[in-house]
Chain length 253, copies 2
Amino acid sequence: MGIAERKHRQKQALRERILDAARRIVVREGFAALSMRKIADAIEYSPATLYLHFESRDHIAHALCAEGYAQLLASFAPLAQIADPAERLRALGRAYVAFGVAHPETYRLIFMEDPSYTGAALAGAAGVSEDDTAGDAALQIMIDALDELRGAGRLSGSVASTEPAVWAEALWASLHGIVALNLTCSVFPSAPLETLVGVTLDAWLGEPQAAGAGASTSAAGRGKKTAARRRPSTASSKHTAPEPATKRKAAGP
Amino acid sequence: MGIAERKHRQKQALRERILDAARRIVVREGFAALSMRKIADAIEYSPATLYLHFESRDHIAHALCAEGYAQLLASFAPLAQIADPAERLRALGRAYVAFGVAHPETYRLIFMEDPSYTGAALAGAAGVSEDDTAGDAALQIMIDALDELRGAGRLSGSVASTEPAVWAEALWASLHGIVALNLTCSVFPSAPLETLVGVTLDAWLGEPQAAGAGASTSAAGRGKKTAARRRPSTASSKHTAPEPATKRKAAGP
DNA sequence: GTCTATATGAGGATAGAC
DNA sequence: GTCTATCCTCATATAGAC
């Protein structure tokens, strides 16, 4: 039955081409600009063909979300090997923000557009599990690190008495806030991103203890006189190609 | 010249009716559903008439943003009288989040849609000032409180050494993250909102000192076993009518 | 499976009559 | 000032030929 398999492969290949084209459009022009016509044009097929592979525009968006979230998780993987849980948490936090600014439209699609997209991302990347709550893998990584940290008795004050899951969600929210404001509000970052992330991580994890080996985060992480302005376009992602900032309307009136 | 004045009043009145209708639509169906036709239908005028009062749909959105931000600032006003700066900051933080969940579509429009909308909100509410940076009034309130706090020498560790403007922005980002995740990600709040806000404020401000008079925030602010789920729909706003949650797509996959 | 052609409907914005 | 009528663009989705 090699013929059937070849056909199946071809079908999968076209599906991938569709997703590739869709991703490119989202990355370059934002999700709002994603249309079936544009995708069809890009891959040089007719719009009708798309519907043989995806039920609707939304299903394409869901697939993109799952891809993006998997990419985010992948960027976390190497950091899981950092032995010190506090340093690991800091690294994860920085990686999270870095992903957000490096892939603004992807991040927007997953976390800022629609609840169903977020759901699709989490579920899609966690295998095809369809239990009650698929559970957020990224969140679990943070919770684990925090548990370790607490086990080591290295937590101060309010952190120690807080439920880890709550703490992790709150930290996630803080990081999301930094990314989200950065992507949406041009007024926002009068302080450079790294500074904000550093300050935030310090607030949640306490001052980094000088005991560790690796060069600590907040070395350059304290703001002096609000030095640099504007987003630094660091794009310090070792991942894939960063997305150029989509041209939204103007900034200040 | 009474005639001219009456005409002017009438014109203003219609402008208000347009904005009212637009606000209702945004509140009930979300900004994406706001169209000139719908507004026209709602006020029983022809679509063309709208263009005599607003240059475009975007200009209407800008006006709505300015209104919404003014409302947010108004909800802050009474809190400015809290003597203790730490308690004041906590109250401001809670009010901010409360506004966000009580007026989700308004919040979304101002802070999560488009940079130009955020800009319009800040500039519009700060009078018609058109200096370089209109500056964010809400942010300034926080910075002032922090300055006081530092003056009183009541800051611990990392906070003391951080530039107040940076610190304020970072705290803002944290609160924004809580609101934004709550509005977008149905997966998110496994912990109740109040808990997250409490934990976050503790992280930034330190444990509330029992010295003060008022009943402290985080009395009920520590999460026990992740008790309640789902957004509590507290709607603890003393302001105007809260916005019912707009039906976005479904939550989980 | 893939295409052309088209149904259907939405939206923003404008021209020109009253 | 206000309306009617209209232009134009763009979208999703389907029918039916190849």
